[in-house]
Symmetry: C2
Subunit: 438 residues, 2 copies
């Protein structure tokens, strides 16, 4: 069988990792693939940096290894798209602008298979890319786009084909999990933990997309599409980040034997999907509570095979690159087999209607009778209280939390509205409401 020729677009952290594995392990990969896996060309603006960082031969670089202008880099990419002997194009430029989008679409339009780690692009602007791959019967590998090294895409596509997935959930963002773990273990504030994460290389200078739930949402959107055959957009999804989690929240969670995690969740009930991204208090008995630092985890609940956890590194150069290389080997082995894309007629349910037990934290004036008033109003909504935390008094204010039994979110909202009606000055800020995950 003739070699499978690979082109890489962008030789930074991930692309360079791919080039490194493809060259270091060429013989082994070719054996596994049943045909030669051949890195043919890399398009990169700054080859000298990539060459020294990943110890690569300059022969692989379009332009011979010297720095290239943006204009020439675009030409190199166009040449790759049009080259007759390229089978797979690896897009590791990142971003979701027109150039990257059009390049990815162009790869497929030119009859080549596409492998990418670009979750933002696929989740927000991927519809025509997925469609083009399907129409042209080409492979679109995106294992690396969802939870880095965890093989959840091929897991769902090739390993759970005998099952029906009822729910996908987990910890999909390593940066926010690193921050929450440091807050939990070291008693840090959010801002202190964020600074530490930046210092240690786990958060970028602009961490917005990691801490506001955006990055995690991209992955959830891709998993909803794969597992349930449903298209969801960012603005349809209920997304809450970790920016507002405080030391107090951490303490209240610990008091009910749980840790706060940024949880992505999508659950099928009849023809509805309930999906959301938000911080939850995860009980210590739940395996997700022990997933710490920059690690990712995916939990599946399946009709026939019950609960599964996949836990592994969600980011990193060689970790993400490994997933891309595995996609390449998969294409070499199985590239002729048409992908089956689940498509179902489902609607997005109101995420406020998912029943959860809740951890509700109050900051109130330090007045006798406050606990009773709040507990009474919660009870009036038909919500049972599991436990009330120790009160933290600090001069004029008091902090405490209530752990409820399972109820719908809007009942909690209603109880809070009633409390405000009775005494509008009692609550010093809006209560924090965290679902509790058993």
């Amino acid at each position: 069988m003739r070699p499978l020729n690979i082109a890489i677009l962008g030789c930074g952290t991930v692309g360079g990792g791919v080039a490194k594995i493809l060259t270091e392990q060429k013989e082994l990969l070719s054996k596994r693939a049943g045909r030669e896996i051949n890195l043919k060309v890399i398009a990169e603006l700054n080859p000298p940096a990539a060459i020294s960082r990943f110890n690569l031969d300059k022969k692989y670089f379009a332009g011979g290894g010297d720095t290239v202008s943006r204009e020439d880099a675009s030409k190199n990419i166009q040449n790759i798209l049009e080259a007759e002997d390229i089978d797979v194009v690896v897009e590791t430029m990142g971003g979701k602008g027109n150039f990257v989008h059009d390049t990815c679409l162009g790869v497929l339009q030119h009859g080549k298979n596409l492998v990418t780690a670009n979750k933002a692009l696929l989740a927000e602007r991927g519809a025509d890319i997925f469609k083009e791959a399907e129409d042209k019967k080409l492979q679109l590998g995106y294992e690396a786009a969802v939870c880095g090294a965890i093989p959840i895409i091929k897991g769902i596509k090739e390993c759970f084909t005998g099952d029906i997935i009822n729910s996908v959930c987990g910890i999909f963002n390593g940066t926010s999990n690193y921050i929450l773990t440091q807050m939990q273990n070291k008693g840090l504030d959010f801002s202190e933990a964020l600074k530490l994460a930046q210092k240690e290389g786990y958060a970028e200078a602009d961490p917005t997309l990691d801490i506001n739930g955006g990055d995690a949402s991209h992955k959830l959107i891709l998993l909803i599409k794969l597992a349930f055959g449903m298209e969801v957009t960012m603005d349809q999804l209920s997304i809450t980040g970790i920016q507002n989690i405080t030391k107090n929240d951490m303490d209240f969670a610990r008091e009910i034997n749980s840790s706060i995690k940024l949880i992505c969740m999508a659950r099928r009930e009849n023809n509805q999907i309930f999906a959301e991204v938000r911080p939850m208090a995860v009980k210590n008995d739940n395996t997700l509570s022990s997933v710490n630092y920059a690690v990712n985890a995916v939990r599946l609940d399946n009709k026939y095979s019950d609960t599964h956890f996949f836990i592994g590194k969600g980011a990193g150069s060689s970790e993400t690159a490994m997933s891309i290389v595995s996609d390449i080997v998969f294409i070499a082995r199985h590239g002729d087999v048409e992908t089956y894309n689940e498509k179902n007629n489902l609607v997005l349910g109101d995420s406020k209607k998912i029943a959860f037990p809740y951890l509700v934290s109050f900051k109130t004036k330090n007045l006798p009778g406050t606990t009773g008033l709040i507990a009474t109003e919660i009870g009036k909504q038909g919500i049972n209280i599991e436990t009330v935390s120790h009160n933290r008094f600090s001069g004029e204010t008091a902090d405490f939390s209530v752990e409820t039994e399972s109820c719908e979110f809007d009942k909690i909202e209603k109880a809070i509205a009633e409390i405000k009606k009775i005494n509008n000055d009692l609550l010093l800020e809006d209560p924090k409401i965290l679902p509790i995950l058993y």
Copy 2:
């Protein structure tokens, strides 16, 4: 494309589960497979029982659904092997006797793909079965043979093809894990916990193979073959079961923040594989320590993608059946692609040479100076002591344990020999030595 026709041999717990999913989900499975998945025939001694247990149509059963003699059942199986229109044979009879072995081999000899959950057969007598599949370029699906519903076989074969596995370890036997969990949580003796496991349906009337590490070893042998390309036999493997774990051991483990688990482990170092099955004290920070009851877990440590955990149900009718059905869909989709079988020239290392920290528990005469004597002799072997437990005095005897830093097993053995030389009556039984897993 023409239908993929399936025959099932044996319609008990697992085979019946397969028949149930194949009939319940025929349409969905066929869509995923890209061709019709067609359950053609079931060979079973007692169809009436299977029909009522799994709500199956009698039309599927060779002989029309009535009880058949052993002789007729054998004929039915022979007919299936010789049938021109059967593509995949599912063996769910169990056992490792000649009949089952020869039937499985015969399936392949007759040019049909084989799917089986039979770990004992494949691990102990599988060499010629694997070889026949390879020679004939047929598929041998055995996802269900290793940790039930966990997709670790396809995980290694198809998802980590861009990586190199350095170590495979985990909890591979649900029954022993259930027993250990009950001992840990309820403070039960081994025999009490075993009885509970039998009562709850987690242990068989003869639990030997589950508690002596035999069943776990079968799975480890299959994973060593797959991940490292090396053949290991049962008698080459160092195997210790959980029969001798006591309440005291559990308490000592708890005192150093760990739980006792039956751990299977195989690690590659240069051209050696170090492999063993034995109870270990797993530190609470290690995800494996939170894998409780009848759940299985596999941990991979990979060159490029670091650490992965796969956690899921290791047994159960629909769980195991799901893995078999997924193998069938995989064969339908990718049956024409030759399997790559890793083959490496590796040797089995001496498992006593793996360095571990150890938890060593002593039952001694209740005499002053005992702790000092024992700690001194351990120190003389160059082993650092991390901590010594609280002493449990009970009349004439004392129980205590020592947590060491990492050292080779034979140094611990040597220290114990020296202690016996100094005072042959001091130790009332041989100390229990458990590796500690961080």
